[in-house]
């Protein structure tokens, strides 16, 4: 799958309270959650971001609570992918399980500037910066995780394995 969008830059240690504050956790609706994504740390983000845009962050993205509402709100506001230097583990598994595309890359986040046009080849894990004409690679997922992502999430994976039996 090829994804295209503008980069929105975020700091290290973006936590799940910042992605979606607890006061909005009284719903599970992706669009409702998407309306408040990142509002605590970047009030402009939702006003300016377009469908398909990409979040680019530093280390430990998604640290804190286990709320799956965090990846859901990111998907809900139209973001197509998150690139970070590293992800906190529960956010990482929640993204795999719910089918939010994420890529781990040590060099891409520092080199990408806010507003750069990015093209991502998810299968190859290749990140192209169309504005700066540079290419970065990302850590490939282990096969087990790739299989979950291919099936569209953990429960679809379980379903498909059940059907194979």
């Amino acid at each position: 799958m090829i994804l295209n969008g503008k980069a929105w830059k975020f700091k290290d240690n973006v936590n799940t309270d910042e992605i979606i504050a607890a006061k909005y956790l009284d719903t599970t609706d992706p669009l409702d959650l998407g309306r408040h994504c990142m509002e605590t740390i970047s009030p402009d983000f939702l006003k300016k971001a377009q469908k398909g845009d990409i979040i680019v962050a530093g280390n430990n993205f998604g640290c804190g609570s286990s709320r799956e509402h965090a990846p859901i709100s990111i998907k809900g506001c139209g973001v197509s992918c998150v690139i970070a230097k590293s992800f906190a583990r529960i956010f990482f598994r929640n993204s795999i399980n719910t089918g939010l595309p994420i890529l781990e890359s040590k060099d891409a986040p520092d080199s990408i500037s806010e507003g750069d046009e990015i093209e991502i080849d998810l299968e190859k894990g290749r990140i192209k910066n169309l504005t700066k004409n540079t290419v970065y690679s990302s850590q490939p997922f282990p096969k087990f995780m790739q299989d979950i992502v291919k099936e569209g999430g953990w429960l679809s994976y379980l379903k498909s394995n059940e059907n194979k039996k």
């Binding site: 504050a21 799956e68 598994r93």
Partner: protein, 434 residues
Amino acid sequence: MGYTITEKILLKHTNKSAISAGEFIMANVDLCLGNDITAPLAIKEAQKYGLKKVFDNKRVALIPDHFTPNKDVNSANQCKLVRDFAKKHNIEHYYEVGRMGIEHALLPEMGLVMPGDLVVGADSHTCTYGALGAFSTGVGSTDLAGVYITGKVWLKVPEAIKFIFKGKLRKWVGGKDLILYTIFKIGVEGANYKAMEFCGETIEKLPMDDRLSMCNMAIEAGGKSGIIAPDDITIDYIKEVTSQKSEVTRKRPKAKDFKAWAGLKSDKGAKYVKVHEYDVSKLEPQVALPHLPSNVKPASEVKNISIDQSVIGSCTNGRISDLRMAASILKGKKVNSRVRLIVIPATQKIYLQALKEGLIEIFVKAGGVFSTPTCGPCLGGHMGILTKGERAIATTNRNFLGRMGHPESEVYLSNPAVAAASAVKGRIVHPDEV
């Protein structure tokens, strides 16, 4: 070559004959939990899948504790969804308001977690039960739905970091200070994906409530789990909680269980990616400044920080020993007139114990409020939200931007003694100042 305690527990929950760090496993779950925020998502996902029956109605815990007693109509709707699901599936461990407590205080207290167990919960502080020598970790709602369906969870076997604590703790210093100091030393990402194993002479003497506080905040260093090998303190705790006649326990331990737990520890040749050794004999009470739990200073070095609110409670520090510590400082004193003191016992049992011991009277006479059990203000839910420019000291676990309310409010984390003393003084102080 040998196994860490974590690898031993995980291996026992698979059908494999060997296991190694980095490997993906499908593990059998002894107990899974969800709350009023995370369970609704799990239930909806499980229903979409076509779930007819949960894998085992005795191994599912549902605890509405975050926005309860229901703070608004939406919260009431979420709780109703959980309640209806519990009824439909005859869930044994569903705890309604009145029997409910903060999940990570309630489950150990009810005797639902045993050493060697594998527990997953759709709440990041599920790592708390490592204090009992269990492998426990936070997962997402979809994971929880997967457990409802299959009784299993996918896990990557974590590498381990060993933390050795040496020295006798000073007055007013406990598990909360040890874990804040640890997070200060290694950072909020210092143990990402790793099992944090706590040991050493300090831990061997550390009471269970303090161990629970410590393992509770393993996630604040990014840890997958925190764990302390079971010892006499663990065994005594398990004996106490499983001897209560009126309470439900998942299983009553037998002599052979106690024997097995005594041998549940890491092998001599177990592999660690890092070993940290801390001399904590001179450690002071620690305070984490905004906006990261790693932004830690000794209490005496936090100068001229006035506070508007002091919160004593949460899954980290809402246990009876925490309330006793706070009451010992507040007895016969008054909360500063500029400060709102909110004390929240973590469970009904703790509430009742505080009542019997006269602690509630101490808090109320001091000018504080005493609440029903709830996560409440810890996550900015209800019962003590901060407005712009306000500052709180709290015995909770996170001081992230906007965590307790307005994005321009601040949260400082500490143990209950510091929070109580600061409530009296109106600014953050070392308990010795009161």
